[in-house]
């Protein structure tokens, strides 16, 4: 098994792969979206490189792009930032 670490997503503690981006960790944990658009449809990472802003989440209280930030033990992530 590759190493894992523990983060909280929307208040729930989950195990995610240690060597990945926040966006990848969310997908690995089974979340298919990171936010909802103005009309309520789900959206998720698209460009992978900090351009589209679809992967944005709140990390330890600050809005960040999930595709650019690496997971860290104990991170608090909330979707629909």
């Amino acid at each position: 098994m590759p190493p894992e670490l523990c983060v909280r997503v929307d208040g729930v503690e989950i195990q995610v792969p240690a060597e990945c981006s926040v966006a990848a960790a969310l997908r690995s944990a089974g979340f298919s979206s990171t936010r909802h658009s103005l009309d309520g449809t789900p959206r998720a990472a698209c460009c992978g490189m900090g351009v589209c802003f679809e992967c944005r989440v709140r990390i330890d209280g600050v809005e960040r792009l999930g595709c650019l930030v690496r997971v860290r033990e104990g991170m608090e992530i909330s979707r629909d930032a």
């Binding site: 990945c20 992978g48 351009v51 650019l68």
Partner: protein
């Protein structure tokens, strides 16, 4: 606000920026290299920092490790309030950098075009899914369709297959005649030819179709199938992910914010990679799409020139000429077809951030009206995605970037001299 001083600031730690910073130090100057990603490597060398498998990546990432270049990651350039002053925002709070000369090495982004279903989770850029997967996005066992245009489709397919994905189709919109022409052009580039042969090996057995493009994607909470078009023929394919990219576009926001001259959508540079603005250099895909060899050659030249030792870049000059020919071959043979202008339907979202639909945008006369009336391009991505689309769809000019170049935290505005510009409304 934290502040650093350096002689040469290099923004972007892809192949071009790494080569520029390392070469500047070798030429006797002090350089600071900053990137918004968590590690150096840019797009092509994502995930190679700790385990480089690519020989060029091993060479240049090794050179960067061994050099005295100062580095900062997780920081995005958001403002250039005065000559020689740059403001970054990131995980660790804002950072201000004072420099004597600037090398812009911000690379390229993918051109994404709207089609029904393109906003579904599970629909990505082609290089987009590739770089996500390089940073751990799970693709093993997934059925993936790749579509769009350009050699990046093949590179993405090879990476994804290597990570255990099942590539069920690659749909290239360019016709066979141009694909053959591009292939023939590669004969003059032994390195590219070897790369192409390697890709062909890694993609053995995958179905590759020319003259074929995406018509629409369908799904519920995520994508479930894609319908491909070729002439009047339609084919529906079930998939877990759809990766669609219509070629690469030079990132010019930083250069434009500084007033650098553009030509054909790319930053204009002279033989020393110097832009039209004194003390500002540009290297890599920002000057035009030409691949990693071009980025490395231009980076070396820019680094030496910025250090005042342009004569040290001799060998890189010949390599730059070679890759210029490759870039021209690429431009000539991957021209987007007209049908791609008619994929979106009136209710298809065009501006993903502000949910502006194609039908509404099509009634406007240009970028300015669409911004004022509909807020098109006014959301988080600041028109980086929809601006490229409206340029292709309607022939509109992109809006001139205004600071901040990306949504930034308030702390960034407390101590910059451009603080008369309030942070843009992020909603």
């Amino acid at each position: 606000m934290r502040e650093l001083r350096t002689e040469i600031l290099v923004v972007g730690a892809g192949p071009a920026g790494i080569a520029a910073a390392v070469s500047a130090e070798r030429a006797g100057a002090r350089a600071l290299l900053v990137d918004m990603q968590a590690e150096p490597g840019g797009q092509i060398w994502r995930g190679q920092w700790n385990k480089a498998t690519d020989p060029a990546a091993r060479q240049w990432l090794g050179a960067l490790r061994a050099s005295p270049v100062e580095t900062r990651y997780g920081l995005r350039l958001i403002d250039l309030p005065a000559p020689g002053l740059a403001v970054f925002d990131g995980d660790s709070g804002p950072l201000r950098v004072r420099c004597e000369r600037l090398v812009i090495a911000g690379g390229a982004r993918e051109r994404l075009l709207p089609f029904p279903g393109w906003t579904l989770p599970g629909v990505f850029g082609a290089g987009g899914l590739q770089v996500l997967a390089k940073n751990g996005w799970p693709v093993a066992g997934q059925r993936i369709v790749i579509a769009g245009s350009g050699p990046l489709l093949l590179a993405a397919a090879a990476t994804l297959r290597g990570l255990g994905a099942k590539i069920v189709r690659i749909a290239e919109q360019t016709g066979w005649r141009d694909l053959a022409g591009f292939g023939a052009g590669l004969l003059r580039h032994p390195r590219k030819l070897a790369q192409a042969a390697g890709l062909a090996r890694r993609l053995a057995g995958v179905r590759y179709r020319g003259n074929t493009w995406v018509a629409h994607a369908d799904g519920d909470d995520r994508v479930r199938s894609v319908t491909l078009a070729s002439g009047s023929h339609r084919e529906q394919i079930h998939c877990d992910a759809l990766a669609v990219g219509f070629g690469l576009l030079p990132n010019t926001d930083i250069a434009r914010a500084l007033g650098c001259e553009l030509r054909d959508g790319a930053v204009w540079v002279d033989g020393h990679q110097h832009t039209s603005v004194a003390g500002v250099y540009c290297a890599g895909e920002g000057t035009g799409i030409g691949g990693v060899d071009q980025a490395l050659a231009q980076g070396e030249i820019a680094g030496c020139a910025a250090a005042g030792r342009a004569e040290l870049a001799g060998a890189a000059l010949a390599r730059r000429r070679q890759s210029d020919r490759f870039a021209a071959n690429l431009r000539r043979h991957f021209v987007l077809r007209d049908e791609l202008r008619r994929l979106a339907e009136p209710d298809t979202v065009l501006c993903r951030c502000e949910n502006v639909r194609y039908g509404a945008a099509a009634t406007c006369t240009g970028t300015r009206e669409a911004r004022l009336q509909l807020r098109l391009g006014m959301g988080h991505c600041q028109g980086r995605i929809c601006g490229a689309a409206t340029e292709f769809l309607f022939g509109w000019n992109a809006a001139t970037p205004r600071p901040p170049l990306a949504p930034a935290s308030l702390a960034c505005f407390t101590a910059t001299s451009s603080s008369e510009n309030p942070p843009q409304d992020p909603t």
